[in-house]
């Protein structure tokens, strides 16, 4: 006879209890409680016929088709056990208790009475199976549990592992660093990351992995769990996994995609790479212009390199007849400069401005007005004097202005001479 029991707690008694149990009796109780619970069972009274290895009368406790305990007798011996104060806990949510009596009893035995109850399972504490353990945080509740992730992570659809959102990475600088999430700490599980490096045409990308490289692998199968793959447009590099760094990878493209996959297990450090770019074409070094400079000066220039052209003091930049304050040329992807170099021409201050009642004297015989040339203003009449009183020499400056040491670009004026008598003072007279 099998008695199903579905309550969360209850009592099991041997037949006729507390009167002696009948001969040749066999009765089972199948206790089941909801999932997420276990069953605790303990005996408050036990009095069965003793026999070697409980071969006559006995109580057998089973769960999941495994025998948890066999009890008989009134006290423990070398070969028989009584439950005493022992509490039996089912591994899962069901437990079977079977009572059996044989055909004869030498004495009268009163049987047994046991209590059972359902108890909640703390899955966060008791789970040992890696496939069931929460990746980051575990939260227990009555009859169940759930997992959650640290900030920045997302719970995977397996409701256990924590993944990251990592596919919006686009790198456009000419050099940079990429790494697995959290590097050098273990990378997230259950994630698929896509890193795009996109430079303009004319550059070729070079990737260099750090020596520290740790991606979960398998001794016999090529990268079955986690791996990194690199696609440069025409060619694919990888998959890479294990502890050996892929080292340097010279691509043939200005665009590269790095794909990294991680499965739902493993604790591995991951990877980091530095990427650089080289120009596909070089531009020839231009000659330094006469009376000018190039900055920077290099033996070779490559795509996107700039050169600033400046002139020596007293010279101005001219390009196509137009005077420029500065000029810059750039190396193009086809190996040519954006334009030819401008020329540096000497600054011409032009004819000096006229000052009323004053003459201009040129220092150079050809009346030069170029950078460095000097002129002098002098008042025409003897009764006029230059004002303010200064050396009235002007020099053609770097910016095309006539400059006086004291007045700058300000012009002098001729004003009437002061303090000059028209008669000399009389000589001292001898007394």
């Amino acid at each position: 006879l099998v008695v199903p029991l579905n309550n969360m707690y209850g009592i099991i008694r041997s037949p006729n209890f507390p009167e002696p149990y009948p001969k040749e009796s066999e009765l089972c109780w199948n206790i089941s409680v909801p999932e997420g619970f276990q069953i605790r069972l303990y005996f408050v009274h036990f009095d069965l016929e003793p026999s070697y290895l409980c071969e006559y009368d006995c109580v057998k406790v089973e769960a999941e088709r495994e025998e948890l305990a066999v009890f008989c007798g009134r006290e423990n011996t070398d070969t028989e056990l009584v439950p005493g104060e022992r509490v039996i806990t089912s591994p899962k949510n069901s437990l079977s208790v079977c009572f059996r009596s044989d055909f004869s009893d030498e004495e009268h035995f009163s049987g047994f009475q046991a209590h059972y109850s359902a108890v909640d399972v703390d899955e966060c504490r008791d789970r040992n199976d890696e496939d069931l353990v929460c990746d980051h945080f575990c939260h227990n509740f009555v009859a169940g549990y759930y997992c959650s992730c640290r900030y920045g992570y997302l719970l995977h659809s397996d409701n256990r592992t924590c993944r990251v959102q990592c596919s919006d990475n686009v790198f456009t600088e000419r050099s940079g660093v990429l790494a697995s999430s959290d590097f050098p700490n273990p990378y997230p599980k259950s994630s698929d990351c896509l890193y795009r490096i996109q430079l303009e045409e004319g550059f070729l990308l070079v990737l260099e992995f750090d020596k520290t490289f740790d991606v979960e692998d398998h001794p016999d199968v090529t990268c079955p769990y986690d791996y990194i793959k690199i696609q440069d447009g025409q060619k694919e590099f990888g998959p890479f996994c294990g502890g050996q760094s892929p080292g340097r990878i010279q691509t043939e493209s200005n665009k590269v995609e790095v794909y990294f996959h991680s499965d739902n297990s493993g604790e591995n450090i991951g990877w980091r790479m530095t990427y650089t770019s080289v120009a596909s074409q070089q531009c020839p070094a231009p000659p330094t212009p006469l009376h000018g400079q190039l900055n920077p000066t290099q033996v070779q220039y490559s795509f996107r390199d700039h050169i600033l052209v400046t002139c020596d003091p007293g010279y101005s930049l001219f390009k196509d007849g137009e005077e420029l304050s500065h000029y810059q040329i750039e190396c193009q992807k086809d190996g040519n400069w954006t334009s030819s170099l401008p020329q540096c021409e000497i600054v011409d201050c032009g004819a000096p401005e006229k000052v009323a009642m004053a003459d201009v004297t040129f220092e150079s015989p050809d009346s030069g007005t170029h950078y460095g040339s000097k002129i002098q203003y002098s008042c025409r009449a003897s009764m006029l004097q230059i004002h303010p009183k200064t050396n009235s020499t002007y020099t053609c400056g770097e910016r095309g202005d006539w400059i006086n040491v004291e007045l700058g670009t300000k012009l002098p004026t001729c004003i009437p001479a002061c303090g000059e008598p028209s008669q000399p003072f009389p000589a001292q007279m001898k007394r």
């Binding site: 009764m383 004002h387 303010p388 009183k389 004003i415 009437p416 001479a417 002061c418 303090g419 000059e420 008598p421 028209s422 008669q423 003072f425 009389p426």
Partner: protein, 266 residues
Amino acid sequence: IVGGRNAVSGLFPWQVLLTIDDVSRVPEDSWFGSGALLSESWVLTAAHVLRSQRRDASVVPVAPAHIRVYLGLHNASAKDQAVNRSVERIVLHPNFNPRNYDNDIALVKLSHVVPFSQLVRPVCLPPPQDKGHHAPPLNTLGLVAGWGISNPNASDTGLVADVLQYVKLPVVAQEECESSYASRSLNYNITDNMFCAGFYEGGHDTCLGDSGGAFVMEDPEGGRWVAHGLVSWGGPEECGSQRVYGVYTRVANYVDWLHAHLGTGS
């Protein structure tokens, strides 16, 4: 000018005669002073020459219409041979103090520009006064010209010198100047805007009628004559008395103010 000499024509081409006829008072009560030509339009003089004599308006200048300016004048009795100008504007120094003659300086703008000639030429202004460096230098000689009294004993206070007179006077130490006036019964105040010139023993001095004339010194570097002072005031004793120094306005203290009005910059 006491103890001076006759100037020859053209020796002081910046010297001008200012005659003032203040009709607010009795007509006979007109007076005169000197000035120094700075440019074609401006004349430098002492403020007290131009102030009204009315008691209730001690710092009010006389009306420009009552002033006549004579330029290139040598003999004061022959004004008809000189260039003369009326006055457009008077600028008294705003801090002129008529009680102690502090800031005794003024500008006169001529109504029409005056052409320069052998007899009409401007005088130079000194550089601005530096702190710790007094201009003019002590004990050096300067020249002052004027048509003022030459004989202080005479009772006549009119134009007593027909021909322009001039005198050489040394610059006196400021301490000596202050102590010479401190011993008087009256309270005199020699400020830093004044300096003294004259001889301890007297005999040479400026006097009534010379006010506003320039105390000039020759610039040792450029050879030009620079107006370092303006005839301002003296003690009640006779001009040229012993230890009676003439007091002059220190022009260097006002160079920036003058340039600002003349529009000539520094």
